[in-house]
């Protein structure tokens, strides 16, 4: 009898697993929806065998910041294609941002997105609710109703827009305490960034593009940290992009304030110098910054000041990018390349080991998103969400064609190390041998 519900993953290494942190080759047995056992000499008659020699196993990756575009912009991405891209990148859960059309500001819309995720089945989709009605920044959306809905929303964000009104931000932070909610802020002072196109600095001056100053991000983060402390509620800072922002968050954390933060893969690797050719594939919000910023963001992620990596996967159709810079949409895809970028930016540089990567890309984002059942260390009894990664795979050039409907990856043609070999969701492979299962 073969047991098609069981998988025996042999010869794998679990970073941070084992006694006293000794990382040895071991086996993982998945039965049903869970990890049944972990150990060197496992056997399970009938289980399908996956030879994972040389691979590492990470708890399934969790993305706090994904734009799935559905409903409204199915030409750019759908829940189906976006979650397929996520699975190929090693993700087992994504948080779907609220700036859809209609905006995810009611229980109806968040439940629709949640159901589409369940139907697609490539990874879990946790909808994020809008903070304000229509992302307009004027009055609060029905946060409690979204929290109580089938989608169980805990993370709220007007991402793409900043909740710039300090009073509204205070009220939002305060209100979500009732259901352990988190406000994820897109920190961008609107007045300081009117018409902004590129990081304000040498490149923007030379290229004649309106500057997006670091202070427009940092001023909002400083204010929000103070507000979060004042009302004792959880603030999460989206896509931190400047050295100064990291410094402010470090200071807030040193006070013990309830602040968490994320950084994108692209801000860990790319700089504004890439804008020199005016190719809008490098246009993103917040913008690519300087080398000094990249260095500080890496350091902050390594020391835990920045809690996690989040992709800000932002698919756009070709015509939104094949245009003049100022006309082009902001945003980059990122789900399929995130782990490889982190490999290059953090692991190859010695700043983070693989256990650290598991922490920053699975454990902590799941905790921040209040996502039960994800981000759990791979031990017996854990949910069967895991990612098998080959860290020794030779660097290969990124191709823009993947599962995402869109092609706006800034990494196209760039050689990145490593390869996602397999992804398991609730004990079932969503990806095998680097392809959708």
């Amino acid at each position: 009898m073969t047991d098609h519900d069981s998988w025996l993953i042999k010869g794998v290494t679990i970073p941070g697993g084992g006694e006293q942190g000794r990382e040895e080759q071991t086996s993982i047995l998945l039965t049903g929806e869970s990890v049944a056992a972990v150990g060197p000499d496992l056997d399970h008659p009938g289980a399908r065998i996956l030879d994972a020699g040389g691979l590492i196993a990470l708890p399934g990756l969790v993305d706090l910041h994904t734009h799935l575009r559905e409903p409204g912009r199915e030409d750019a991405e759908t829940v189906e294609t976006g979650t397929a891209a996520a699975a190929l990148g090693g993700y087992t859960a994504v948080h779907a941002m609220a700036n859809t059309d209609p905006v995810a500001d009611t229980a109806g819309v968040v439940e629709q997105v949640w159901r589409l995720g369940r139907a697609a089945g490539h990874c879990d989709v946790q909808p994020v609710g809008a903070v304000t009605v229509g992302l307009a920044g004027a009055r609060l959306a029905e946060l409690g109703t979204m929290a109580d809905s089938a989608a169980r929303v805990r993370l709220f964000s007007d991402d793409g827009r900043c909740v710039s009104d300090p009073l509204l931000m205070r009220r939002a932070l305060e209100y979500v305490k009732a259901f352990d909610g988190v406000i994820a802020q897109h920190a961008q002072d609107p007045r300081l960034t009117e018409g902004a196109q590129l990081n304000e600095g040498e490149m923007s001056a030379r290229l004649g593009l309106a500057g997006w100053p670091a202070v427009a991000e940092e001023a909002i983060i400083a204010r929000d940290c103070l507000l979060a402390a004042h009302v004792s509620s959880a603030l999460h800072v989206c896509h931190v992009s400047t050295a100064g922002s990291a410094e402010i968050i470090r200071w807030a954390k040193s006070k013990g304030w309830p602040v968490t933060a994320e950084v994108t893969p692209h801000h860990l690797l790319l700089t504004d110098e890439l804008a020199a050719g005016y190719d809008p594939v490098f246009k993103v919000n917040p913008p690519l910054r300087t080398k000094a910023d990249v260095t500080e963001l890496r350091r902050a992620l390594a020391d835990g000041t920045i809690d996690c990596v989040a992709t800000d996967h932002a698919p756009h159709p070709v015509e939104a990018k094949e245009t003049e810079w100022a006309e082009a949409a902001f945003g980059m895809t990122g789900l399929e390349t995130a782990l490889r970028v982190v490999h290059r930016a953090m692991v190859d540089t010695g700043l983070l080991d693989w256990a650290g990567v598991a922490d920053r890309m699975s454990v902590r984002p799941a905790r921040i998103g209040r996502l039960t059942g994800h981000g759990t260390p791979l031990t017996a009894g854990a949910p069967g969400h895991l990612t098998l990664y080959d860290p020794a795979a030779p660097a290969e050039a990124v191709t823009p064609a993947g599962a995402s409907k869109s092609r706006n990856t800034p990494f196209a043609g760039m050689e990145l190390p490593g390869r996602v070999v397999a992804t398991f969701l609730r004990g079932v492979p969503t990806v095998l041998d680097g392809k959708l299962a």
Binding site: L207, G208, G277, W325
Partner: protein, 322 residues
């Protein structure tokens, strides 16, 4: 030279001097009864103008026509552009029509750069957003060299602008003219100083090959050239300075300031002027002013650029080197 002229940074000193020398040759044509040369006969030059700029468009049009090129004027108004066609699709259309050169004026920085990726012909940047306007810088350099280094074969041929002090005054932050001039004039050996209120200078201006001053008065006595930039209407209400009168008082070139310039110094303006704001009427109309000359030199300089970029046949009258 490169195939396109998008930024003044594309030009080496040798390229720039070659263009000025070629323009000098062509200038002699202007004195002849028949101004036209057969050099670009059968070649097509498209003027693709997304912004209203009659002076720049007719300057390029006159330049191309004097070289016998066929000229197609394509302006955003009244064309498919107004109906929402993308720059790329317009580029492919021009490509299909066989444009040998496209002269583009566009409100977005980098538009010329993008266009060059989509067409085979040469792209000439006639002003892109707040980025660059390299032919304006060339005509300015040509005007400076003629005025201060002499004309004709016995004069400035082969020379740069070494040692000349050029002060550029006004809204540098939003000026494509200033960006191109800083690059080109410094390539040609001039010492450039930008004089402006801090709000109208890029924060990172320290990385540019020029000096910076907030005080126009302290720069006047040592300037060989003062170049005034236009203050755009939309800056006047956006907190870049308290009032037009205060701007004019601190950074406007009036007769009293002009009197403090060295005797040989010239006053330039790319036009169109705001008389009474950045430049007083008596300055604009004085003998130091090169403003009308700049317009004439614009045609000559653009002829030189088209001639060199399109690799025209040997210049028949005087045999300018290929």
């Amino acid at each position: 030279m490169k195939r396109h002229l998008i930024s003044a940074a594309d030009l080496s000193r040798a390229d720039a001097v070659l263009i000025l020398d070629t323009a000098e040759e062509l200038a002699s044509l202007a004195d002849r009864p028949i101004k036209k040369l057969p050099t670009l006969r059968g070649r097509t030059v498209v003027n693709l103008f997304y912004e209203d700029s009659t002076r720049t468009r007719i300057s390029f049009e006159a330049a191309a026509k004097r070289l016998s090129a066929d000229v197609i004027n394509f302006s955003a108004k009244g064309s498919s552009v107004a109906k929402g066609e993308s720059l790329k699709d317009t580029a492919l259309t021009l490509e299909a029509m066989g444009a040998d050169a496209v002269v583009i004026r566009h409100g977005a920085s980098g538009a010329a750069h993008r266009l060059a990726e989509w067409v085979q012909g040469s792209v000439l940047n006639a002003g892109d957003g707040t980025h660059e306007h390299p032919t304006q810088a060339l005509l300015d350099a040509f005007t400076i060299r003629r005025r201060l280094r002499g004309t004709g074969p016995s004069g400035a041929r082969g020379a740069g602008l070494d040692g000349l002090r050029v002060t550029i005054v006004g809204d540098v932050l939003h000026s494509r003219v200033a960006r191109s001039n800083v690059l080109l004039l410094s390539t040609l050996g001039a010492e450039v100083t930008l004089a402006a209120p801090p709000t109208l200078l890029p924060l990172a201006v320290g990385s540019w090959p020029c000096a910076v001053s907030y005080d126009l008065d302290s720069e006047l006595a040592k300037s060989d050239v003062v170049m005034m930039l236009r203050v755009q209407q939309e800056r006047m209400t956006a907190a870049y300075f308290p009032s037009v009168r205060e701007y004019s008082r601190r950074y406007g070139l009036d007769a009293a300031r002009m009197a403090r310039l060295p005797g040989h110094a010239i006053v330039m303006h790319p036009g169109p002027m705001n008389r009474g704001v950045e430049i007083a009427a008596e300055v604009a109309d004085s003998v130091r002013s090169t403003i009308v000359e700049q317009v004439a030199n614009g045609v000559t300089t653009r002829m030189a650029v088209l001639y060199l970029l399109l690799g025209g046949m040997e210049f028949p009258a005087t045999g300018v080197a290929q």
